[in-house]
Each structure stands twice: as C-alpha cells, then as structure tokens.
C-alpha cells in the first residue's frame, strides 16, 4: 500500500540533511560549559548552530536562546513578559482566539493570577488585523502575542504590521512562529518582532528542540533557573546534538524556498479545488495569505476522527484539527472561532503538505477520499437528516 504522510503541521520527518548533521555531531559529547578540549569542541558546535539559525531569522546569535521546543518558548516568552509588565504596573495582554494551546493555556494561567487578556476575534476566514490590535491597546497593555501562521487553518497573520503598531505603542510583541519558521521568509528585525518562538520538528528537524528569539535589550526573567547557560537565561546543559541537526534542517528548509513553496502550493490548490467538488464541504481559512502546505476542510455529516482513521487505513496520515488537542472532545477552538457551528467543526480534516510530498500523493488522496466520505455519510444519521431536509425544501 502507498504511504502518504500529509500531517506535516503536526510534525515532519527529519530531512536527510538534519539526520546527517545529527550523525556527524554524535561524538561531540563535551559539555559546552567545560573549559577543556571536549568542552570547547561542544561549545564551538553549539555556537556555530546558533549563528546559522540566527542568520536564518535575521537576528544576532546572542539574541537566540535554545529551548526544548515551541511550547517552552511560548511559555517562557509570555510568562516572562508578564513578569516584566507587572514590574511596570501593566497587566493587560492582547492575543487572538486562534492561538495554539501552548499560548492559550499560558494566558489562562496568567488570567488566574490577575492578568487581563483580550482574545481578538478573527474574521470568518481566519485573520486578525493590525487595526484590531491598535484598538485593543490600553495604557495597561504590556504584551501582544499573535501567532505568525495558524497550525490548523494555515492563515498567515499581518505580523509586520502588528509589530509596527506594538513598536509605536511601546508594547512588547511576541509571535508564535512555530508553523512559519522554515516555511516562510522571516526577518525579525524588519517585521518588528520582539520575541519569536520556533520548534525544529516543524521544519524537518528533530523533536524536542526549539528556540526563542529575544530582541537585544529585553531582559526576560528565566523560566528555568540554574546554571549560567544561554547567557544565564535558560539553565540546563545545552542540547548540542539537536542544535546541530536543527541548524542543518533550517538551512535546508529555507534553501530554494520560493521554488519549493510554489510546488507545494500547487499541490495544495489541486487538493482544495478537487475536495471542494464533494458536496457540502467548505474550506477553513482564507485562500491567501495561507501556508503553502495547508488544506483544512469541513465535511458535513461526518466526524473528523473516523475520516482520518479511514484515510489511515489507506496509508494516508492526515489530521483532524490539531494533534495536540487529542486529549479533548471539544471541536477545535480555531474552527469555532471562525464561526462554524459545532456539528460542522467536528467534521474537519487537515492535510498538511511538505516538500517531501509529490503530485502522486495528491492524486492518491483524491482517488480514495470521495469513497471514504460516502461510506461514512452512508452510515451517518446526521447525513440522513441533511438529505431528508434537502428533499423537503425543493
């Protein structure tokens, strides 16, 4: 059976470059804080990884702090900024209704501790505007955190404009760019970003490695206290091995990015156009600006999990909403934020493509999807009702 992995928004297979870098670094085992030759070798490796990743983001190496992934970066940025804010007598944070749980749950944590959070609505196609941010800023606002691109519906937010508003108003601006780094050209300086979270496993790097860019001059309090690693801001013996792999992955992801993205978007558009031919389906999130690899569609009358497991039986790995929320039975908060009714939000399917996919994968998906949808609809009492209602209103 054909194996088609199209759940790249959940995580990606490591690229050959990322694997090779890992193999090459496997014997660089010293502790970068040690003064002896083994330590110095590890320090140099780590330092070079930092330089390479920093270059990909347009920041200085010393503005880049390595973490264990996107969630840690988000927690650190937001909890740290909250502490900085409160020292200045500010307690208001602005975010959106479609953030990842790593951001949303951190904000809820802060709400329990007296912070006030404005969750901006998104338009029915999944966008916020810089004007909304401007209007929400008060003299109590200390932080704006808006994701770069959404993990479920692929919409890309106007980060540079939001950054400009924040800079003008003197408010810190953090962006969860976990879905964007390695997929879109990013320049933290040009885009007025104060803090940016990334995770290597979303761009064909290893899981368990991420970074937080913190603009020079912002002294973020630690999330993890201890040794003097990462300029004293993030304790813990550094992950030299995964840093090397992540650096290679990011450079590789960004090479020929335009060309790759054109190819990926072509696959995406073919999927969207053809899936929408199935009756009672709708695309979640606007068509543009949209991550080149994201297809998110709701199918009326069926439930997403049985759809994705049916696809899995055909060798196709996709997703229904975000993998990380699998602990919950709620339909995705992102789809609800678009204004979709619960019963429709339950029927969502996310296909997320990467450079490793081909047009054959797309054709294969399109060849099996309609019969799966039919089978599930045939046994669905909800679909039965929809059809009955259709017949009643001619």
């Amino acid at each position: 059976m054909r194996f088609v992995y199209v759940d790249n928004a959940a995580t990606t297979p490591m690229s050959e470059k990322a694997k090779q870098a890992l193999f090459d670094a496997i014997d660089i085992f010293g502790n970068p804080s040690s003064m002896h030759s083994a330590g110095v070798a590890a320090f140099r490796s780590l330092d070079s990884s930092r330089q390479r990743i920093a270059k990909c983001l347009g920041c200085e190496p010393r503005e880049l702090y390595f973490t264990s992934g996107g969630s840690e970066s988000d927690n650190w940025a937001i909890k740290g900024a909250a502490e900085l804010m409160s020292r200045m007598g500010k307690n208001h944070i602005i975010s959106t209704k479609i953030e990842h749980h790593a951001v949303l749950h951190t904000l809820q944590y802060l709400e329990k501790r007296g912070y006030e959070v404005t969750y901006l609505d998104v338009s029915s196609d999944g966008y916020v505007t810089a004007e909304q941010v401007r209007d929400a800023i008060t003299d109590k606002t200390g932080l704006v955190t808006v994701m770069y691109a959404n993990n479920e519906i692929g919409t890309i937010q106007p980060v540079a404009e939001i950054g400009a508003v924040c800079r003008e108003k003197g408010v810190l601006f953090h962006t969860d760019a976990v879905q964007a780094v390695g997929h879109l050209p990013i320049d933290v300086k040009k885009e007025n970003i104060d803090m940016l979270s990334l995770a290597a496993h979303k761009f064909h790097g290893p899981k368990g490695f991420g970074a937080l860019y913190i603009r020079k001059g912002i002294v973020l309090p630690n999330l993890i206290e201890g040794g003097a690693q990462e300029r004293g801001l993030r304790a813990g013996t550094e992950n030299v091995l995964l840093a090397a792999s992540a650096a290679a992955a990011l450079e590789d992801a960004l090479s020929n990015l335009d060309e790759k993205n054109r190819r990926i978007a072509e696959m995406r558009d073919k999927l969207i156009d053809n899936i929408l031919k199935i009756e009672r389906t709708r695309l979640n999130g606007g068509r543009s600006p949209r991550l080149p690899g994201n297809v998110s569609i709701c199918f009326e009358g069926i439930e997403g999990e049985s759809l994705l497991l049916s696809l899995d039986l055909k060798g196709i790995c996709a997703s229904s909403g975000s993998a990380c929320t699998s602990g919950s039975l709620d339909p995705s908060h992102v789809l609800l934020a678009l204004g979709l009714p619960h019963e429709i939000a339950h029927g969502s399917l996310r296909i997320s493509l990467s450079d490793q996919n081909t047009m054959e994968d797309v054709d294969y998906i399109l060849s099996v999807l309609p019969e799966i949808v039919n089978r599930l609809r045939d046994m669905s009492p909800v679909w039965e009702k929809i059809k009955q209602e259709e017949q009643q209103q001619p």
């Binding site: 669905s380 009492p381 679909w383």
Partner: protein
C-alpha cells in the same frame, strides 16, 4: 493511547450497519454538537432481538462500540440486552482510551432507547437510567471518562 486491534477491526468492518425499515423499536442518542449520534434499530420476536442495525455519526470508537454492542445483543432476549453495560462493551473491545469511554456509554444508551421505544409502541412505559449519554458524552476532558470505567 491508540485504539486496540478489536476497536480498529470493528471500525474497519462494522457489523450490523444500516437501517431496518420495519423496525420494532428505534433509539437515537447523542448530539451532533457533541460529535456523536447513534441510532439503533431493533426487530423483536418472542422477546428475542432477532435483528439489530445501527447508523452512527462519530469517531472510530463510536462506530466500533455501536458495532460491538449490536453484536452483543443480537439474538438475545430483551432482558439480557437491557443488562448490557458500557463496561461489557469496553471489555469486548479490549479497552478504550479514557477519553473515549463515553462512546460505550452512548452505545448502552442507544440500545436501551431502542428497547424503550419498542415497549412504548406496545404501550409499556420503561424508565431509562438517568446516566444520560449527553451529560457525559459531550465536550468532556480526558479525566471525565475515567469515572465510567
């Protein structure tokens, strides 16, 4: 926690899918808002459930539990079918992830609802347990399910 092989088998090849046009009892439980609806059709003769079919909108475990529950009552006397617990369905499926236990409760409820309908049509009023599926079936977090196992 992934599904057991039994769940996947009943999801892949669900038994008793469909409708019974001249059913003696029909039960529908669940709520599209919550992501699961089960509709059960039964045919009864001499107090025996001679045939049972289902239609389900929901996740893989909703479909698998519907399938397993219909298997467990097919050919059984009504009294026995009424005694079917969600626990028995879960066991027959070799377990369900905690977050999915509510599906088994829904299956139990659907059977009871179909039998109640059968009785109702015969003029007998039967009280359903008040462990109503919608209370536990909907929009719950992980831990909630645990209580039912």
């Amino acid at each position: 926690m992934p599904y057991s092989e039994e769940v996947m088998e009943h999801f892949k090849n669900p038994r008793n899918v469909g409708k019974i046009e001249d059913a003696d009892g029909i039960g529908e439980v669940g709520n599209a808002k919550c992501g699961d609806i089960m509709k059960m059709y039964i045919k009864v003769k001499d107090n025996i459930i001679t045939d049972v079919k289902f239609n389900t909108y929901g996740c893989a475990s909703a479909i698998a539990t519907s399938s397993m529950a219909t298997e467990l009552i097919k050919g059984k006397p009504i009294e026995e079918a009424l005694k079917l617990t969600n626990k028995a369905v879960v066991e027959a499926l070799n377990g369900l992830p905690p977050v999915k236990i509510h599906c088994s409760v829904l299956a139990e409820e659907a059977i009871k609802a179909a039998i109640a309908d059968y009785y109702r049509r015969k003029g007998i009023d039967m009280k359903l347990d008040d462990c109503a599926s919608c209370e536990i079936g909907c929009c719950h977090k992980k831990s909630a399910g645990d209580d039912h196992q």
